[in-house]
């Protein structure tokens, strides 16, 4: 990216796929990104924006001129355009809307009316719709003459006079039928519709569950609004999986491309929560200062009980959070799951009680400490199984994302119970 080499950039970038160009841009430092894009000039493809990481795109869009933005918004598919448009501030939105052709304007305004992360935001407005009285021949002739078709599509939607979808026709079925056949005779009638307000997570589950390739999106009064295709759903699945992973670790989203300062700031609140947890554990230990002063071996061994509880609980918690996200757990089988996890905790608790009792006899030669740590271990692993299931299920019931908050609550419980059981038993029986 040296000054004298800038003129050859368009030639270097052109053969690359927009997705690869987006990757290249992501990897540059913020100032370099602007230099590169300026050097690309008119060869900068609007599709690159659709492939960029959200953090990087937000930053870029803030620096783009109105003219460029208007050009990109017209060139993008309606779903990507709504995405991009939603990131602008209101003033910019108003000015750009005025500069856009009427059809693009309506799509953008309507798109923004749907809640974020809803099917309405995800759908594409470009689709092929035919009335149910048409024949295969009419449909094929229509496809051959109309210019304004989406670039790729897999299904045609059949509608009644009220523009309500009545059937879905895969192109492979259309192609196999003879020209005089009516589309209403070969269309699939048991297709699945998506309401525009549906959350994108639900949409992804629907596609996954039934292996869908495309689904029509309808308004409240069942009119056909647009189509969601599986490639958009792949992005959603990816996002949702990443979200769960990140939230379990106390991050809102991957901050790989975030700046040093932003990254530090976004990680801070979660660490504060953990500090409070750790202080809670310390308060419990503080209650038993007198006991520790007399038997220092307790201080040496006490982190073992707490740590095993935390880890066993996290195993349970992770299975629960994933199963809740996949709708594999509901009120009917929740009890079974809780019971099973508590039993798993008891069994592993007994196994590790034996191991850790053996280890502490070998180390300190003290049978009393050995049975105390063994009992504390069983107790804490049973509690870990219970907490690992009850905490995410409870949060889900109160409509709090179990991936976000479960971890903090869990380690608080396992730390407090772990330290309290071990040091409490020691105080009762050793002194």
């Amino acid at each position: 990216l040296e000054q004298e080499r800038l003129p050859i950039i368009p030639r270097l970038m052109r053969p690359l796929h927009p997705a690869d160009q987006a990757d290249l841009i992501e990897r540059l430092a913020p100032e370099q990104r602007l230099t590169l894009i300026a050097a690309m000039g008119a060869t900068f493809d609007a599709d690159i924006l659709a492939y960029l990481d959200a953090t990087v795109r937000d930053e870029l869009v803030g620096t783009l001129g109105e003219e460029d933005l208007t050009r990109f918004l017209s060139a993008l598919d309606s779903d990507d355009a709504v995405d991009l448009f939603g990131e602008l501030d209101e003033e910019e939105q108003a000015r750009i809307l005025a500069a856009l052709p009427a059809k693009d304007r309506i799509f953008l305004e309507e798109g923004l009316n749907f809640p974020e992360d809803s099917a309405g935001r995800l759908m594409q407005r470009e689709m092929v719709v035919v009335p149910s009285h048409w024949t295969v021949g009419q449909t094929i002739d229509f496809l051959r003459t109309v210019r304004n078709l989406p670039d790729d599509f897999y299904d045609i939607f059949v509608v009644d006079p009220g523009h309500r979808p009545v059937g879905e026709l895969a192109l492979s079925h259309l192609l196999r039928a003879k020209r005089p056949v009516r589309v209403s005779d070969i269309m699939r009638k048991d297709f699945r519709k998506v309401r525009a307000e549906m959350d994108q997570e639900e949409v992804a589950l629907l596609f996954r569950q039934y292996g869908l390739v495309a689904a029509p999106v309808v308004s409240e009064d069942d009119r056909l609004l647009g189509v969601i295709t599986v490639d958009d759903v792949v992005d959603v699945i990816d996002e949702e999986a990443e979200e769960d992973l990140m939230r379990l670790a106390g991050l809102g989203e991957s901050d790989l491309y975030g700046s040093l300062w932003d990254t530090t700031k976004t990680r801070f609140p979660w660490l504060v929560m953990n500090l409070l947890t750790a202080i809670a554990a310390s308060l419990v230990i503080g209650m038993f200062e007198a006991t520790i002063e007399k038997v220092v071996a307790l201080a040496v061994l006490m982190p073992i009980v707490a740590s095993m509880g935390g880890n066993a609980g996290t195993q349970t918690l992770t299975v629960a959070v994933r199963a809740l996200a996949m709708r594999d757990i509901d009120t009917r089988n929740a009890m079974k799951f809780i019971a099973k996890e508590t039993l798993v905790g008891s069994l592993n608790g007994i196994a590790f009680a034996v191991l850790v009792a053996g280890a502490s006899i070998a180390w300190f030669g003290d049978f009393e400490i050995a049975w105390i740590i063994a009992v504390a271990m069983v107790l804490n692993l049973v509690v870990a199984g219970l907490a690992g299931t009850l905490i995410p299920l409870g949060l889900q019931r109160f409509k709090i994302d179990p991936a976000v908050a479960s971890g903090v609550f869990l380690t608080t419980v396992t730390d407090v119970v772990g330290f309290f059981a071990f040091l409490g038993l020691a105080t009762l029986f050793l002194l």
Copy 2:
């Protein structure tokens, strides 16, 4: 599932989608599953097997008779059939192969030759292939007359006389063209091929990166073998995301449907690893027994430093594991990532040093302990940033899945450094 109500089961199940029937079966107890399937008799659709959770399917397949298995294998798409067939033992495989029609047999045998989790296993053999000299009219006539077509398809592949793919033709493009046009004039030539040996994770990345809907699978000598469609890739993305999530928590896969005993056994090894980690931390504490005996406040405060290090490190680790899986980190930007995470660790380290020093002054009124815990905190959060990046990058370099093992190494490092720094400084300056 009472005896007298069994005869109505086929009528109840029939209107359900195979995916929903699979969900229903998954939720039953193992014995109930067999009763239900027996009651369904011939109305049991082979597709249900394709939708079942792998654990449940393995268990069911073990109890199915040879006759049923043969029938199901013929009815399934080739990719699902290979999956199912691969789960049988060798003797069963041989007997069933003998009972199958020649074409199914060849597909199964070839399918099993590809490594597990490879593109060859994922692909479907059913596809539409036309020679490049055909016209649009010939292709459409062919589609209308041939009986043996896959049920749904989105792309037609164009091959040269050596059966090597030379182009990909979306049905929407075929439909828009006039009959005399040659397919070679409208096909897409810059399509992406997948080698049969490619790992399914790579295949998923390719589909994601370029928003593909279908991709041809070729042999080593570039002959067209089959096609991978995006709905298969959705399953892979799901699996891989779940795998990373589970592995970070020390589980091979979600054991939601595993039996009590299997679940207990599979969770045991990870907990053993954690026990060793915890014992390592205890050994460090043991080195400073004399110090703790004199200043018990140290025992109360010491878990705070270790726990904050573990949590900050896990944040970094999670971002690193996800970025490595997405190929967003490689040798060119690894240094930048490590430097950034170390700096994030220092900044948050300073912030929490101040907080925790304040808390310990408030609690114990001891300025010396306050500055010792502050220094230990900064040290441990810097180490957490370093370990959270270096451990996964190092494991990746040695071709070990960073999601599996990173967590254990990380907490070992942060525990050992946390306890050692805090207690070590205390020993040096307090006594």
